[in-house]
């Protein structure tokens, strides 16, 4: 079965979404990620969507959900690498992802999470 890999980097987890998301894949990702946050005692989650050039309201909601779940498990979520076209689409859909932190690329996102966990 198709899975989205979750990489551990110190206290951070890195999720790179490179394939089209569908319902089952999203549910699996939510399961895997929450399990890994607990198991690895992760303090932050980086979701890299730089390879996504197409989004819909479903993916938007999924990202929101993942961020909310991670928050409950005491991990910050940063969404990184969004393409301009994707950002415009999400805004037009009315999904501004208010609860999610964002950064331009993985590097910036990591700095952001590290600053957050040290303070």
């Amino acid at each position: 079965m198709e899975r989205i890999p979750i990489l551990k980097m110190g206290q951070l987890l890195l999720v790179t979404i490179q394939v089209d998301m569908h319902d089952r894949l999203a549910m699996t990702l939510q399961d895997d990620l929450t399990t890994r946050i607990v198991k690895d005692r992760a303090k932050g989650v980086l979701i890299d969507i730089s390879a996504l050039d197409l989004v819909d309201s479903f993916i938007g909601r999924m990202i929101n959900n993942i961020a909310a779940m991670a928050k409950i498990l005491d991990a910050d979520t940063v969404l990184v690498g969004m393409q301009p076209a994707v950002a415009i689409t999400l805004v037009e859909l009315g999904l501004t992802l208010e609860g999610v932190k964002t950064a331009l690329n993985v590097e910036r996102g990591m700095t952001m999470l590290k600053l957050g966990s040290f303070s």
Partner: protein
């Protein structure tokens, strides 16, 4: 009907030279400018148009200018109109090109058919209706060419008016000038987001000093741009808010509380520098 229109065609072809002279005389008297170049051009256009109308009338035998037989004449009129738009003629001057042919033509018909008043009347009426149609067609194509010019200018304006400049490492500025509509917001948003990707900037200052009015729609467009930039990981500061605009925004009940707003670009730049971790030091002179 067929007979009458083809007779008009015969008359035009027969007396083409003299008609042309009469027509040109009235054309030149009507237009103000009198340079030699314009006159030769006018003469060329007029003689081409006249012979074309004559032969079309004779061959087609119909005065229905929408038919395919008139295709060439319509094409010629369209070209002449487009040409005149570029040269800055008014619509009246353009329409007169066709209408002024009526006078000499009518006087010819009069001398030709002075013995037969009934035919004369029908002939004149047919001539009138034909040239009215041609004249209206000219005006319409003049209008169309005008609209094309306007549309092209709008496009150019759209491209010109959305520069995104880099003020500092990590700091972008977007000086907006003119009213924001949906189409412009789209262009502005795209160029800002693209520039964020290109430069890796983390702060963008949107300066609205040049935006004349801010209504709910414009405010919504601004907020959309801010939200899109935030999704890309860049914060936005809105600057250049004039006192009247601040009042309007509050009266309209637009919520700008989630966005950093500053009165001037200079203030916004200071905040941006702080965020980017840079300081400006004044040197002692």
């Amino acid at each position: 009907m067929r007979n009458e229109t083809s007779r008009l065609g015969d008359i035009i072809i027969e007396h083409q030279e003299k008609l042309l002279e009469g027509w040109l005389a009235s054309l030149i008297s009507r237009i103000g400018r009198r340079d030699a170049h314009a006159e030769t051009e006018l003469r060329q256009q007029a003689s081409r148009f006249l012979s074309l109308v004559g032969t079309t009338l004779r061959n087609a035998g119909s005065a229905d200018i929408d038919s395919s037989a008139w295709q060439e004449a319509r094409q010629l009129l369209g070209d002449i109109s487009a040409n005149r738009v570029r040269q800055g003629y008014s619509s009246i001057e353009t329409a007169n090109f066709v209408f002024s042919l009526k006078e000499p033509l009518t006087s010819y018909l009069q001398t030709e058919m002075s013995g037969d008043p009934a035919t004369l009347v029908t002939e004149i009426m047919a001539t009138n209706s034909l040239f009215d149609k041609l004249g209206l067609f000219t005006v319409e194509s003049y209008q169309k060419s005008r609209e094309q010019v306007i549309m092209r200018q709008q496009q150019e304006l759209l491209e010109l008016s959305t520069p995104v400049v880099q003020l500092w490492k990590d700091v972008l500025a977007l000086p907006l000038i003119g009213t924001l509509d949906s189409a412009r917001t789209q262009v502005v948003m795209e160029s800002l987001l693209q520039k964020i990707v290109d430069t890796g900037a983390s702060i963008a200052i949107i300066d609205i000093t040049g935006v004349p009015t801010v209504d709910t729609l414009v405010a919504q467009h601004l907020l959309k741009t801010v939200a899109a930039a935030r999704l890309m990981g860049a914060d936005c500061i809105i600057s250049g808010i004039r006192p009247q605009i601040a009042q309007t925004i509050v009266h309209l009940g637009v919520n700008l509380e989630d966005v950093i707003t500053k009165a001037t670009l200079a203030d916004a730049f200071l905040v941006a520098l702080q965020r980017a971790g840079s300081v400006i030091v004044q040197k002692d002179r």
